[in-house]
Symmetry: C2
Subunit: 318 residues, 2 copies
């Protein structure tokens, strides 16, 4: 089949399945989408790409790839406290494989529906499997959760649990069985959108954990011109993680493993109860450290001894 015909067919296949919203004046099917931002709102835009063999193992199910491609982007909106609205999708495929596209859309659109986000445009192209998504959300002026607002003395918090995605990847690399609970965290991360919304007016800074807790906190330190002290023994771990790894491996996976897509945020000490109350209906939150005056990111164990990860940073899958 002529590749352009195949592309039009794929786009039509996508168009037939998508939901829309009243603020989408013109969606898929023209040169560009036409969108109506609500009065008084500012626009929040993030863009992230997943490449096969780099950001996910090549044998990942198409539906999981679709879910994750949107999830990692929604996570960026969550980290800003934004309300998701629209997305565009660029899908590069080695061939016009409609089965792959159908499966991909199963995951992508399931998550889109959860967050009432409309797919409004993009393209399909021939090329190595790669998925690029741009998400658009709204935010009330002056309420965005940024990286540059952390204050000395603030508590440091994290949502959910850490290390599961990296643990699944570690099991995948080892070539043995992968715990299904861990694998689900790798393949179908939960973007903490409603938690991000709830933290407006409470958190002084926020970031999502994509590259690993310590690495991502480095960005907060730099942007806010502060340091951060992390209590590695306070990091929340799932049952599955505790069941599969020893204590030191758990610390390493939690502190340096990426792809968790939990929110890590700072908030004033006097707002501790407000944090717990606001978060309660959205996600568990754990206090894991404190903002200090300098010296970047330091990690201490429960006895106050400095802790160093055996392996610095997270390299995604590669």
């Amino acid at each position: 089949m002529d590749s352009k015909v195949a592309e039009f067919d794929l786009i039509e296949r996508i168009r037939r399945r998508i939901a829309t919203r009243s603020d989408v004046l013109l969606g898929i099917g023209d040169d560009a989408a036409l969108l109506q931002l609500p009065a008084g709102m500012q626009l929040v835009v993030a863009m992230d790409t997943l490449n096969s063999g780099v950001h996910f193992p090549p044998e990942t199910a198409p539906a999981d790839i679709g879910w994750k491609a949107l999830a990692v982007n929604l996570s960026d909106l969550a980290a800003m406290g934004a309300l998701p609205a629209w997305c565009t999708l660029s899908l590069s495929l080695p061939d016009a494989n409609s089965d792959f596209v159908d499966g991909f859309l199963d995951g992508f659109l399931a998550l889109a529906e959860q967050h009432d986000i409309a797919l409004v445009g993009g393209d399909t192209a021939r090329g190595p499997l790669s998925i690029c998504v741009t998400v658009h959300g709204f935010i009330e002026p002056g309420t965005a959760l940024r990286r540059d607002g952390a204050c000395v003395g603030d508590d440091l918090w994290v949502s959910g649990s850490l290390g599961d995605a990296a643990a699944a990847l570690s099991q995948w690399r080892a070539g043995g069985a992968i715990d299904p609970g861990l694998r689900a965290r790798l393949d179908r991360p939960t973007p903490r959108v409603s938690l991000g919304r709830a933290l407006r007016g409470i958190a002084t800074s926020c970031i999502d954990i994509s590259d690993g807790l310590l690495a991502d906190l480095g960005h907060v330190c730099k942007a806010s011109d502060v340091g951060v002290r992390v209590d590695v023994d306070a990091l929340p771990a799932s049952q599955a993680l505790r069941a599969c790894f020893d204590a030191e491996a758990i610390r390493r996976l939690q502190a340096t493993g990426g792809d968790d897509y939990e929110l890590c945020f700072s908030a004033p000490v006097e707002l501790r109860s407000a944090v717990i109350e606001s978060a309660s209906t959205h996600a568990p939150v754990t206090r894991i450290g404190r903002i200090v005056s300098r010296n970047g990111v330091s990690a201490l164990d429960a006895s106050g001894v400095a802790w160093q990860p055996g392996q610095a940073g997270f390299r995604h899958f590669e």
Copy 2:
């Protein structure tokens, strides 16, 4: 070098070179960009990807790749009559090659500067060379140039000249010398942004020629529920094209060659002088046919005989 460190270094390299705008409240450096849409404007969003070996020959100069990646997206805004404002860039590279990135930015930012468009976010990732860009523009409500407004009896117009990019590709495929003028049209297309703006209130439909004139007109026919009759002997050709190809090859390249990024639009017959006057300072325009009641896209030669391209559709580079 650790690949995440390399990624941060590349992002910093990009951040240092970009211009900003007063409506960019927060650009590169947080989880998402924070943008202020002007009051009363609607948002126009387009996204297009270029993959190496599919959308450009692998040996294309990095600066030309950068230019083209933004140009094909700006062309979509042009086809809507929108005013460009912001873009995001996702750059997948086989390795963290800073020389490539510097060259790429030379072309990308030169075009961005011409159109006062700010790069506000995106990501870099490891993977086969692929460039995904999302562009954002503004449009006054009710003035967007869409594909669905063509009316029976309207004139059909095209800007600039057609076939040069496909001609360069044809010479490239043949393995011989490539005419520099033709090659420039392939590598550095001119998005017709100011022409698109000038056509608001005049054109009844508009599309940019990316896949080939006849193929792209098929979308207009479908969206507007009309037919179109194209006079293939009226199609504008450059000097370079006339110098390098015979009459039948020229027709074929003009009618079916893609990557021209000219605007093709319909307008009422009584607005002929308005079209010429509005276009005059932006780009030459040529009347190439008429909107008719049905039967999709038909092409006729000067003597009124139906013309069929030897090769249907345009396959980009592949």
